[in-house]
């Protein structure tokens, strides 16, 4: 057994605190938008300056000029504001983002992560990830525990070029929720039916309880 992607998002969603400003990366992290947070209220911030966006627009209700950083046609919640890129990244570098949730290729026990260039590629996909990683108060990663060929993505040290060093707070995979502690990943939660030995078998560095 393991978590589905919406369940991974759901598990990370439980870590979001009332009042937080939350930035979601492209791909899997956008699932966090759909998590029911109960009576907790968070504000979603997108790199393109949309602050306080809501759910994806219903078919036929999309505004061609209103997208989030993943190009999704979102809506605006009451109280939303729109700023330009300079101010949007001023909010990021200025430490106003409580957490950024990013996808990643690799996560390391020393808190480094790598999500901008795959092996052998000449180009890269940085977008806003380096600004967010360096400056958000917390960095949550959402990724598959292993690559398709079984190679672990949770490692002692990254093998790919890093996005930022020593910044990762929490990592959620289909197997559980983990925190890097320097030399190991500490288990915060396990998906139903997953044992710590399952995690150890899928991880390239020590895993602690």
């Amino acid at each position: 057994m393991s978590w589905t992607r919406p369940q991974m998002a759901e598990r990370l969603g439980r870590e979001l605190q009332d009042g937080w400003i939350v930035n979601l990366g492209v791909g899997m992290p956008t699932l966090v938008c759909d998590v029911n947070l109960g009576d907790r209220e968070v504000t979603f911030h997108a790199e393109n300056g949309v602050i306080g966006f809501g759910p994806v627009a219903a078919p036929g209700q999309e505004d061609v000029n209103l997208v989030d950083a993943s190009r999704r046609h979102v809506t605006l919640n009451p109280g939303a504001a729109i700023v330009d890129h300079v101010d949007s990244f001023a909010l990021i570098r200025g430490g106003r983002i409580d957490v950024t949730v990013l996808g990643s290729y690799e996560a390391a026990a020393n808190g480094d992560f790598a999500n901008w260039r795959v092996k052998g590629a000449k180009g890269g996909v940085i977008g806003g990830a380096m600004d967010l990683a360096a400056c958000a108060k917390r960095v949550f990663l959402m990724l598959e525990h292993r690559m398709r060929d079984g190679t672990p993505r949770l490692l002692a040290r990254c093998t790919l070029p890093v996005t930022a060093r020593g910044v990762v707070t929490l990592v959620v995979t289909e197997l559980g929720l983990f925190a890097p502690t320097g030399e190991a990943f500490k288990v915060h939660d396990l998906a139903p039916g997953v044992t710590i030995d399952d995690v150890r078998a899928a991880t390239a560095c020590p895993v602690t309880e």
């Binding site: 492209v26 791909g27 997108a46 790199e47 393109n48 300056g49 949309v50 078919p59 999309e62 505004d63 061609v64 000029n65 209103l66 997208v67 950083a69 190009r71 046609h73 729109i82 700023v83 330009d84 890129h85 300079v86 949007s88 990244f89 990021i92 570098r93 260039r117 795959v118 590629a121 000449k122 180009g123 890269g124 996909v125 940085i126 977008g127 806003g128 990830a129 380096m130 600004d131 360096a134 400056c135 070029p161 890093v162 996005t163 930022a164 060093r165 020593g166």
Partner: protein, 248 residues
């Protein structure tokens, strides 16, 4: 009071005279704010050896729109300065990528916030600044860092442009601009950074004063040329992506 008109009759007239070797900043983040018509005019105009600044070279999504990637395919580009030089999804490929891999076009990859701030700095008379972004990464290798207030920060230089191509919702005759929703993105920073600012506008140009001074996003003193976008098919307008659900 006589005011020299900033309104140009068509896109070709507005981009005439952009020389070979120019550095051009392209507004837009995803579709909102992309200067589709001015980019199409630049493709016809044919200036070469351009340096193109934009969030991405574009082209990972269908339908294809005029973008930096098309200028690359048209042999007009020497260098791009972008926050993406590959497609966000590994399964996609940017039209730009094979040209880059063959070494036909140079690329400088810049974190998105650093890109915006370098443009702003250029227009703000700030020659360089320090930022925590990209410290400890490959991008910082061999470059100047300092410890300021106990934190390592990286020196970044202002990024100047000869020309900015932008798309706005409204303009008045004074060149004041107003954007809708996420159209604004890089436009204010690029308008500051560029010597010549050319804007395609979605609505007919309003008389000076029709945009309240409090509501102006980019002041007209930064804007040189305006072109009103004609209705489709003569003008290019962003469209919503095709629905995934098949009609049953």
């Amino acid at each position: 009071m006589a005011r020299r008109s900033k309104v140009f009759a068509d896109f070709d007239a507005a981009v005439a005279g952009i020389p070979d070797g120019a550095t051009i900043a392209f507004g837009g983040f995803a579709l909102p704010g992309m200067p589709l018509n001015l980019t199409a005019a630049l493709l016809r105009q044919g200036a070469r050896r351009l340096t193109c600044i934009g969030n991405t070279t574009g082209g990972a999504h269908k339908p294809r729109n005029p973008d930096i990637g098309m200028l690359v395919e048209n042999g007009q580009v020497a260098k791009v300065i972008c926050s993406f030089t590959a497609a966000p999804r590994a399964s996609d490929q940017l039209p730009f990528t094979p040209f880059y891999e063959r070494g036909e076009v140079e690329a400088e990859i810049v974190p998105q916030g650093t890109l915006a701030e370098r443009l702003r700095a250029a227009g703000a008379g700030i020659p360089a600044f320090y930022t925590p972004t990209a410290v400890g990464t490959e991008l910082a290798e061999g470059r100047e860092t300092r410890i300021i207030n106990g934190r390592e920060v990286l020196l970044e230089y202002a990024l100047h442009a000869d020309v900015a191509l932008l798309r706005a919702w409204r303009a008045d005759a004074a060149g004041n601009l107003r954007f809708r929703r996420a159209q604004r993105n890089f436009a204010p920073a690029m308008a500051l950074a560029a010597k010549l600012v050319i804007v395609e506008v979605e609505e007919p140009v309003l008389p000076a004063g029709a945009i309240d001074a409090d509501d102006v996003h980019v002041p007209g003193i930064l804007v040189h040329r305006l072109v009103v976008i004609p209705p489709a098919p003569d003008g290019l307008w962003p469209s919503l992506p095709a629905r995934k659900e098949a009609a049953s």
